[in-house]
Assembly symmetry: C2
Homo-oligomer: 312 residues x 2
């Protein structure tokens, strides 16, 4: 059963069809909810219809930056001086947008052909370069890819193998890396060393280190990163330990405190940070901690290969 | 700036407030998008307003079942005979719904006080019992909790410790378990043994087993489950290996083939299955594989503790 006068949009990947209904000047589309059913109909039927209706207005260029490590407002402030001038001069043909793609921040710049004035390619190229420089190492990709994908490609390009040792993230880094088809080319695996026993048995963290400094400490994370690197004979060992909360925080070690260790040929580096000033919830802290680790590894690979601006 | 005539809904967790606008008989609410900002406003302001407007119609009882292992249509078919009769007799006061909460299927039964006839408590209780029996072990909880939470509670209740060995799921099982605050009480950790070397080094899977039977085989998964259980001195070792695709499938071992191994005091059990007939995408296969493992463990704990209907 479909509404009277509706046009059916065939669903090739499921049973419920989509329908199109025209009411006065407005076209309403009702689509199945599951992304695997919705997406093919949008691509096959709706995009062409939308394109036809939009008529004269056409996308001329779209530029994209994805960043990690700073909030929405700081990303906007960094590019605002460059952006404001263009928006003022070309109010109809230029649009900038800053969007949260948690835990990353996206910046999109669209230039439209509307019949009105728009910036030329030379000016666009110049501003793209300025924006890229303003974002610096915060921007990890110019494509719509995840940080894990960027790290995967860097490891692949440099023929490096990674092993992980995860405590508070509990397997999330491994999950993010193995979401990528072909990740076995660079990712050997690792340990989810949630309990202290697991840190000792699977990674060889000395019992005294855990006793003296605790599970969330520079010393333990250093031993975790070195331990997994050596055991799996990897090029990089990436380790994380932190306090994801809601319980377990103290004055000295608050909820949100995370240590990241990267062990490589040249030794072991430690990054530590309190995530969201300890105000984040458990899920947020864990997701940011996993990305903090991946981003630290990304920067390490880029620095050790002499690249200044870590964007590809 | 807010629209003229709008009522402001204060946002205690962010900066942008919500607004309420009345147009004729309709009340429009505009809320901030982030769930952490939207949810408190809905709970504090909108639910009471909606309740007042709904007036006479009040929810009398809501019953809920969450299942894993069979599709939407099979779940509906199992309860249809019980449900149809009630829907026919009480068309205005009774409503059933089957919803996908991927990879689980939810069944909800609501009984409303509308002024019309509705079933009494005795009849509701009887049908609840019949539905619960019809779903049998497919239903793992009567609450809105994840399968990982159910498993966590079972382990906690029976004072059992778990260790995991993940290949194709790459850390996802650990991630799902450690999403739960306090999971360290039952979850020791484990190995993400993505590469064969990791299976040998971290789990002690014999090189010959991998050579002879391959990484995705009963023999390897058996060794993985036993290996992690022994190394971390856990009560249960839970292991998964499979072919998540899109590449790597063969005629004998197609994409979607997954082996789950559970090692316990009484030995090691193997469950194997081809997920979604090998038609699922990588993400779906991995999520289902992780749940297949958790569900196998749930059933194992229940059987070993003599419970017939595994619902709490």
């Amino acid at each position: 059963l479909v509404p009277r006068g509706a046009q059916i949009l065939e669903n090739e990947t499921g049973t419920a069809p989509g329908v199109l209904i025209q009411k006065k000047k407005t076209l309403f589309a009702f689509l199945p909810g599951p992304p695997t059913e919705c997406r093919p109909i949008v691509l096959r039927d709706l995009i062409p219809i939308a394109r036809e209706r939009v008529g004269g207005k056409r996308l001329y260029r779209r530029e994209f930056w994805r960043s990690f490590g700073r909030g929405e407002s700081e990303i906007y402030q960094r590019v605002a001086p460059l952006v404001k001038n263009l928006e003022k001069r070309f109010p109809l043909s230029v649009s900038f947008g800053v969007h949260i793609s948690f835990p990353c921040i996206d910046l999109t710049w669209e230039v439209w052909d509307t019949g009105e004035a728009r910036p030329g390619d030379e000016e666009i190229d110049r501003v793209v370069k300025q924006i890229t420089e303003a974002l610096g190492p915060l921007c990890f990709t110019r494509r719509r890819e995840s940080l894990a994908e960027t790290v995967f490609q860097l490891l692949q390009k440099n023929q490096r193998k990674l092993a992980t040792a995860e405590s508070c993230t509990g397997g999330l880094i491994g999950k993010l890396l193995t979401d990528i088809p072909g990740s076995s080319e660079v990712f050997l695996g690792g340990a989810v060393s949630y309990a202290n026993e697991a840190k000792e048995i699977l990674l060889g963290v000395p019992h005294e280190t855990l006793e003296t400094h605790g599970a969330v400490s520079e010393e333990t994370v250093r031993a975790m990163a070195q331990g997994i690197r050596e055991r799996l004979r990897a090029d990089f060992g990436l380790a994380v330990s932190g306090i994801a909360g809601p319980a377990g925080g103290t004055k000295e070690k608050p909820v949100g405190l995370v240590y990241v260790g990267i062990s490589g040929e040249q030794g072991t580096k430690i990054v530590h940070q309190v995530i969201l000033n300890g105000q984040g919830n458990r899920d947020q802290i864990r997701v940011i901690a996993a990305h903090l680790a991946l981003d630290a590894l990304r920067r390490e690979i880029l620095v050790s290969h002499g690249s200044e601006i870590p964007v590809h």
